[in-house]
């Protein structure tokens, strides 16, 4: 790999993104004063979005290594680039800790005192535990990712396989528990054993969509070197079919089983989300995350067109945003779905910071990106 940067962003673009991040930050700060519940809910959406994209990087590297796949070698810089955003996600996570009182009912001792169920869960759901676990998750993910990135650059295949397997274990256990901490415990009375898998499916869909966009961007900039890029795009499209289908399958499993048994400890989650205006968002979520990408990707012509794939990826990313919104916001404002500056501000902040970091990552350390 030459020392030339993989990609040079126009200074204009960087400035625009910095301005967007600044606007997001200001809106977030104002939002905290005006309606802290909504601002923190928005922040959690943005944070969770970024964590997912960052973790998708090492996940893809590990899965490709373990399955002995070589078809994506030409796109090797893409997941590495995403993986290097993990420290940013960690930084955002530290800020999240400040939002615990606004987001989580279980952090209020007065509420816990009069709720036996919250008392039962208090050994797990408490502010100190939340922060310590958040630190542990990120520490474990960071160390495992660093090892994986090193091993995937040099060293034996055996060492790479061991690092991949280690990452998979650390990721699977950590992300399952984190999904309980960060999202499932927003409604601390509710539980679902499939929940972590649902969150994981969302990570897969959004991470792949992001990877497809980066891949197309790098290809257009001529940064990827020779390779059968159309074939690769086609294969990414096929994987995307599988992942959207997986997401829909997990969505259906949870919904169908809770609807079917109709048990009072489980249904409130859906009752809240299928009431009033919220009701229209669930079908929209299914259409964006599953129907549109699934049907569009069935067409070989579209899978092999960069313009079409970029659009499909954007639909998937918007769908994932809506999915997170439906997971997080109903607890912040149950009566009606609200989307305004107080949600959009922090989401904008997190996503533009992520994009900025991605673009800067492309310029700074090209050697580290080669697979």
């Amino acid at each position: 790999m030459t020392e030339r940067a993989l990609y040079r962003t126009q200074p204009r673009t960087l400035r625009a993104l910095t301005v967007l991040a600044g606007v997001g930050a200001i809106l977030f700060l104002v939002g905290l004063l005006v309606d802290s519940h909504r601002a923190w809910a928005g922040y959690l959406i943005g944070f969770h979005y970024v964590v997912g994209l960052a973790l998708a990087g090492p996940l893809f590297i590990a899965v490709l290594a373990l399955s002995g796949a070589r078809w994506a070698d030409a796109a090797a810089p893409v997941p590495r680039l995403m993986a290097q955003r993990l420290p940013l996600a960690f930084g955002l996570g530290l800020i999240l800790c400040l939002g615990i009182p606004s987001l989580y009912e279980w952090s209020h001792s007065a509420q816990v005192a009069q709720d036996p169920l919250l008392q039962h869960k208090a050994p797990w759901l408490n502010t100190g535990g939340f922060i310590v676990r958040l630190l542990l998750y990120f520490l474990a993910w960071y160390l495992a990712t660093r090892l994986l990135l090193r091993r995937s650059q040099g060293g034996t295949r055996g060492a790479l396989l061991r690092a991949s397997a280690l990452f998979m274990l650390v990721f699977a256990v950590g992300y399952s528990l984190a999904s309980v901490d960060w999202i499932e415990s927003l409604d601390p009375h509710w539980f679902s054993t499939i929940f972590a898998l649902y969150i994981l499916a969302g990570l897969g869909v959004s991470g792949l969509a992001c990877a497809i966009l980066i891949f197309i961007g790098l290809r257009r900039a001529g940064s990827l070197g020779p390779g059968r890029h159309v074939e690769l795009l086609d294969d990414l499209g096929k994987i995307a079919i599988g992942l959207t289908l997986f997401w829909a399958y997990i969505w259906y499993c949870q919904y169908m089983l809770i609807w079917y048994t109709d048990m009072p400890e489980e249904t409130p989650w859906y009752v809240l989300r299928l009431r009033g205006t919220w009701q229209s968002l669930t079908p929209a979520c299914l259409v964006l995350n599953w129907a549109i990408p699934f049907l569009a990707l069935m067409l070989r012509r579209l899978r092999r067109s960069e313009a079409a794939m970029a659009r499909i990826a954007i639909v998937m990313l918007i769908g994932h945003g809506l999915d997170l919104y439906l997971l997080i916001s109903p607890t912040a404002h149950p009566s009606d779905p609200l989307i305004g500056p107080w949600e959009l501000g922090p989401i904008l902040l997190c996503l533009s910071l992520f994009t900025l970091a991605l673009l800067r990552g492309l310029e700074r350390r090209p050697a580290e990106l080669s697979g």
Binding site: H120, R157, F191, Y249, C253, Q254, L257
Partner: protein, 453 residues
């Protein structure tokens, strides 16, 4: 799932295409070996035990089983779920791995698909005999009938099973048969006897091996693979709904569908491994089912086994986190209750021993691998037993709690299902090319230019 070192060939022994045809077809054309007869003797004996047990049960009634008013499902449904699960590896290997272009599937897909079909037959047997009056089994199908308002209940997961399993069986059978056609034609072309030629000629549907034949054929295979792929997930998801749509603690968990699917793949691959380790010895297929295949299956096992372990852990964590006293009790009862031994076997065989497969030394020791594969089979049977029986025997009302001890008739039926499975499998090895010759020829090293038959 691995092409560790692309340099190591999948098929060893420097085989030419002609060698492949000869090695695979010879066992079909000569008299069976003594080892085959011995295997057949054992399998048919087991089948006989099953036929006797089931006949007795049908004559006398379901009372010959150890079921009672509390534990309404025992060995029967455990066996059903176990056998359906076994089938999954066949479909996964032939359909999903075909779509993923995994070349190592070629030596084992044929027999794994056959295994699927036989396993589904064994599975279907148990709900059938559980009906008590199996001659009325056709009542499960929805069709206009003279039985007044008697009609199937579309809201019941048990009816979904009927559709899921019959679809699965049909597609698997078609897929397997279509996969056989070019090889049946090869057998036809080698046949000497008149009847043999005629039978295989009919079965191979006039295959002539032209470019047009092959082009159509490959399209058909990919389409069938795409059709079969959803079945890998759907069938066991539906089977899991038999439990998850109930409100019994330990049964109602939203995780059940994917958890059952991954368990099915786990147990199915264990059975594939068991069968392949035996087949390569008995049928002299050591050059076709190589260490590389065994290694790949072992990796699938350690991967799926770890996910199964994670699923167990999730269930335990959630039984506490849910704050539901019933859930917590059921899971503690699994660990320390009357069926704790079954739970111990399940954890030991499904979670702990497969972890040994992380080590290359273990994966290369075929005896140890064989033992581990048997243990996984055992453990996955016990997993279903634990789920079904512990939850039923201790439900909400302590006054209705009860135990469960299987009778010899139930054990006989289980033994019989193994007999049926192995009888079918041995007949398959005897009469049909057990390795997909035309696909194996495609992954041979291209050192030899000689044309095969």
């Amino acid at each position: 799932m691995s092409t560790d070192s692309a340099a190591v060939p999948l098929i060893t022994g420097g085989k030419t295409p002609a060698d492949v045809t000869r090695d695979v077809c010879t066992p079909l054309e000569r008299r069976p070996t003594a080892l085959w007869w011995l295997g057949m003797l054992i399998a048919v004996t087991a089948l006989g035990i099953g036929v006797a047990s089931i006949s007795y049960q049908i004559m006398v009634g379901i009372g010959t089983w150890g079921l009672n008013r509390t534990v309404g499902w025992g060995f029967d449904i455990t066996n059903f779920v176990f056998w359906v699960g076994i089938g999954h590896a066949g479909t996964l290997i032939s359909a999903v791995l075909l779509l993923f272009r995994q070349k190592w599937r070629t030596s084992i897909n044929r027999s794994a698909e056959a295994m699927t079909i036989f396993a589904v037959i064994c599975a279907a047997l148990f709900p059938l005999i559980h009906m008590g009056r199996p001659w009325l089994a056709y009542w499960v199908f929805p069709y206009p009938n003279p039985r007044g308002p008697l009609w199937v209940n579309f809201r019941s997961a048990l009816l979904w099973d009927v559709f899921a399993i019959s679809t699965y069986f049909t597609i698997s059978l078609v897929f397997w048969y279509v996969g056989l056609i070019p090889d049946l034609a090869t057998v036809r072309d080698r046949a000497t006897g008149r009847w043999r030629k005629r039978i295989f000629g009919t079965l191979s549907l006039g295959w002539s091996g032209t470019a047009r034949n092959w082009s159509r054929y490959e399209t058909a295979c990919v389409l069938l693979a795409a059709l079969a792929t959803p079945l890998v997930v759907s069938v066991h998801s539906v089977v899991s709904s038999d439990f998850a749509t109930a409100v019994i603690p330990g049964w109602h968990a939203t995780l059940f569908p994917p958890y059952f699917v991954i368990g099915a793949i786990f147990s199915g691959f264990a059975m594939v491994l068991t069968l392949m380790l035996v087949a390569r010895k008995v049928m002299n297929f050591e050059d076709y089912i190589t260490r590389k295949h065994i290694e790949a299956i072992c990796k699938v096992l350690v991967f799926t086994g770890t996910i199964v372990g994670l699923a167990y852990a999730t269930e335990f964590f959630m039984s506490w986190y849910s704050g539901s006293g019933y859930e917590r009790f059921v899971f503690l009862n699994r660990v320390a209750g009357p069926f704790s031994a079954a739970f111990g076997v399940m954890v030991l065989c499904n979670v702990i021993t497969p972890q040994l497969l992380w080590f290359r030394a273990v994966r290369n020791n075929l005896l140890v691998v064989f033992i581990i594969s048997l243990m996984v089979n055992l453990g996955m049977w016990f997993e279903r037993f634990v789920i079904i029986v512990t939850s039923l025997s201790r439900d909400f009302l302590p006054s209705s709690w009860s135990g469960y001890v299987p009778t010899w008739i139930e054990v006989g039926a289980l033994v019989g299902s193994f007999g049926l499975f192995f009888t079918c499998f041995l007949l398959f090895c005897r009469f049909v090319p057990a390795i997909s010759m035309f696909e194996v020829k495609g992954v041979l090293e291209h050192k030899h230019s000689e044309e095969g038959a």
